[in-house]
C-alpha cells in the first residue's frame, strides 16, 4: 500500500474492530469507498454520535445517552429486586430471555485480583450504596460461571447478607437439549451439586 495515505488511515482505523485483521480491514475500506459511500457516511455519523453521546446510567451503570437508562427510569419495574450482571450485553440477553421485572446493576467486569481489579477498581461502592438505601429485598447474582464471576458473586452475597438482604445465584448446569455424555465434567459436577427437589 502507501499510494493513498487516507485509505491507509481508514484501513488502520477499521482494525480496531474485533476480529478484523489487515486483509479484512482493506476489504471493508474498498467496499465502503467503491460500493457504499452513503452507508459509510451514515456509519461515521452514527459512530461519532454514539461515542460522544453515550455514557453510563447513574443508577445501574449500563450504557445510555441519558442520565438514567430507560429501565431504571421506568415506573413499571419492581424496585425491590436487583439483578447484578457483568456487562451491558448481559442486560439485553436477560431482558430478551426472561420475564424479569426488577432492575439491574452492571458491574462492567468482575473481581480479578491477578489483573489488579479489586472491589475499588470495580466501583463496588456504588452497588453497596444502593444496597444501603434499603429499597432492595433480593439481589440476583447473574455473573458469569467463571472463577472470577463466582468470586464476585460471593463478595456481593456477603455484602447483601450483612445488610439482611436475600441473595440468590442463577443456576449453572446442563443446557437445554444437552445430552449428559457430551457435557464437560465441570459443568456436570456443578449441575449435580446444584440439583433441586422435584
Amino acid at each position: 500500500m502507501g499510494y493513498s495515505p487516507l485509505i491507509d488511515r481508514l484501513v488502520e482505523s477499521l482494525r480496531c474492530l474485533p476480529g478484523v485483521g489487515p486483509k479484512s480491514a482493506q476489504r471493508m475500506a474498498f467496499h465502503l469507498l467503491e460500493r457504499n459511500r452513503e452507508g459509510a457516511l451514515a456509519l461515521s455519523d452514527n459512530l461519532r454520535q454514539a461515542v460522544e453521546g453515550i455514557g453510563n446510567c447513574r443508577s445501574c451503570r449500563t450504557l445510555t445517552e441519558h442520565d438514567q437508562c430507560s429501565l431504571c427510569a421506568s415506573d413499571r419495574r419492581d424496585r425491590t429486586v436487583l439483578c447484578v450482571v457483568e456487562t451491558p450485553a448481559d442486560v439485553l440477553v436477560l431482558e430478551k430471555a426472561t420475564g424479569f421485572r426488577g432492575l439491574y446493576f452492571v458491574l462492567m467486569g468482575h473481581l480479578s485480583p491477578l489483573d489488579g481489579i479489586g472491589p475499588k477498581e470495580l466501583g463496588m461502592d456504588l452497588l453497596l450504596d444502593r444496597l444501603d438505601q434499603g429499597e432492595i429485598v433480593e439481589v440476583i447474582l447473574a455473573t458469569n460461571a467463571t472463577v472470577e464471576g463466582e468470586a464476585t458473586a460471593h463478595y456481593i452475597s456477603q455484602a447483601a447478607r450483612s445488610r439482611g438482604i436475600r441473595s440468590t445465584r442463577i443456576a449453572h448446569g446442563v443446557p437445554l437439549g444437552g445430552e449428559l455424555e457430551y457435557i464437560d465434567g465441570g459443568t456436570l459436577s456443578h449441575a449435580f451439586a446444584d440439583r433441586r427437589e422435584t
Partner: protein, 251 residues
C-alpha cells in the same frame, strides 16, 4: 530461551491465570511440576464453539500437551485428570491468593516440583473445606524452599542448638530463630510451633496461628511494597466493605 523446539506431553498442570490473546485465543499461565510456570497460547479457546474454555478455568487439575519455541508455547491438547470439585466462597479467595503468590514470586521455566505437590494438596483441601489453613501454610513453606528462601526451622540461628519445644524464639527474616524473651523486628514463636512447621504437622490452632504470622511476615518481605490483591476478595463486614475480613489474611 534457545531456538530449540520445546515439547511436553500430558504434563500435569493447573491454570493460574488467563487473559484474552488476539481475537479468539487465550494466553495462559500454567503451573507444572517439571517445567514450573509456563506461558501457553490456547488458540481459538475464546471462540464461540470452543470446547476447552470451561476446562481452562483455574483450580482444575489438567493434563496438558504443548509444543513451540521461544517464551510462549502452543497448547495442543488438554484434558482433565479427574473431575475436580470446584472451589467456592472463601475457598475461592484463598485459591486466588495461591495463584497470585505464584505469579508474583516465580519465574517462567523454573521447575518447582514440591511447590506443585503442595499446590495440589492445598487446592484439594480448599475444595472440601477442611484443613485449608494448614495446607496453605505448607504450600507457602514449600514455595519458599523451591525459591531458595527456605526457612530455618530446626535449630537456633546463633547457638546452632536444636529448637526446644518450650523455649521462645524471635524469628528474624533471612536469619532464622534466635532464643529470646523479647522480639523487635522479628516474629515471636514458640519452639513447639517451629518444630511443628518443620515436621509439616501444624495440627494445633496455636502452631497454625504462629505459622501464619511467620509466613505473612516472610512472604511480605519478598513480595515488597505492592500488596496482594487477592486479600481484597473477601467482603469484610467490620470495615464496611472493601477489604479482608477480621484476620486480614487468607485462612
Amino acid at each position: 530461551m534457545s531456538g530449540a523446539t520445546n515439547k511436553a506431553n500430558l504434563q500435569p498442570a493447573y491454570v493460574l491465570h488467563s487473559r484474552p490473546y488476539r481475537d479468539t485465543s487465550l494466553l495462559l499461565e500454567v503451573l507444572t511440576p517439571e517445567f514450573g510456570r509456563v506461558g501457553l497460547i490456547a488458540r481459538g479457546a475464546r471462540g464461540p464453539k470452543s470446547k476447552i474454555r470451561a476446562l481452562l478455568q483455574p483450580f482444575r487439575g489438567l493434563l496438558v500437551s504443548w509444543s513451540g519455541r521461544g517464551e510462549l508455547y502452543t497448547l495442543n491438547n488438554v484434558e482433565e485428570v479427574t473431575p475436580t470439585r470446584s472451589l467456592h466462597g472463601d475457598g475461592l479467595a484463598s485459591g486466588f491468593y495461591l495463584n497470585e503468590l505464584l505469579m508474583r514470586l516465580t519465574e517462567r521455566h523454573d521447575p518447582h516440583p514440591r511447590t506443585f505437590s503442595g499446590y495440589v494438596r492445598a487446592i484439594e483441601a480448599l475444595a472440601v473445606g477442611a484443613a485449608g489453613p494448614r495446607a496453605l501454610r505448607l504450600f507457602e513453606k514449600y514455595l519458599l524452599e523451591d525459591l531458595g528462601y527456605g526457612l530455618l526451622l530446626d535449630h537456633d540461628a546463633v547457638t546452632l542448638e536444636a529448637i526446644e519445644e518450650d523455649q521462645l524464639y524471635c524469628y528474624e527474616i533471612e536469619r532464622g530463630p534466635v532464643a529470646a524473651q523479647t522480639c523487635v523486628g522479628g516474629v515471636m514463636m514458640r519452639g513447639h510451633s517451629l518444630i511443628s512447621l518443620h515436621n509439616d504437622e501444624l495440627e494445633d490452632p496455636d502452631s497454625l496461628q504462629e505459622a501464619k504470622r511467620l509466613m505473612r511476615s516472610v512472604l511480605g518481605w519478598y513480595l515488597g511494597a505492592r500488596p496482594l490483591r487477592s486479600r481484597e476478595m473477601v467482603y469484610a463486614v467490620v470495615d464496611g466493605g472493601i477489604g479482608w475480613s477480621r484476620d486480614d489474611e487468607p485462612r
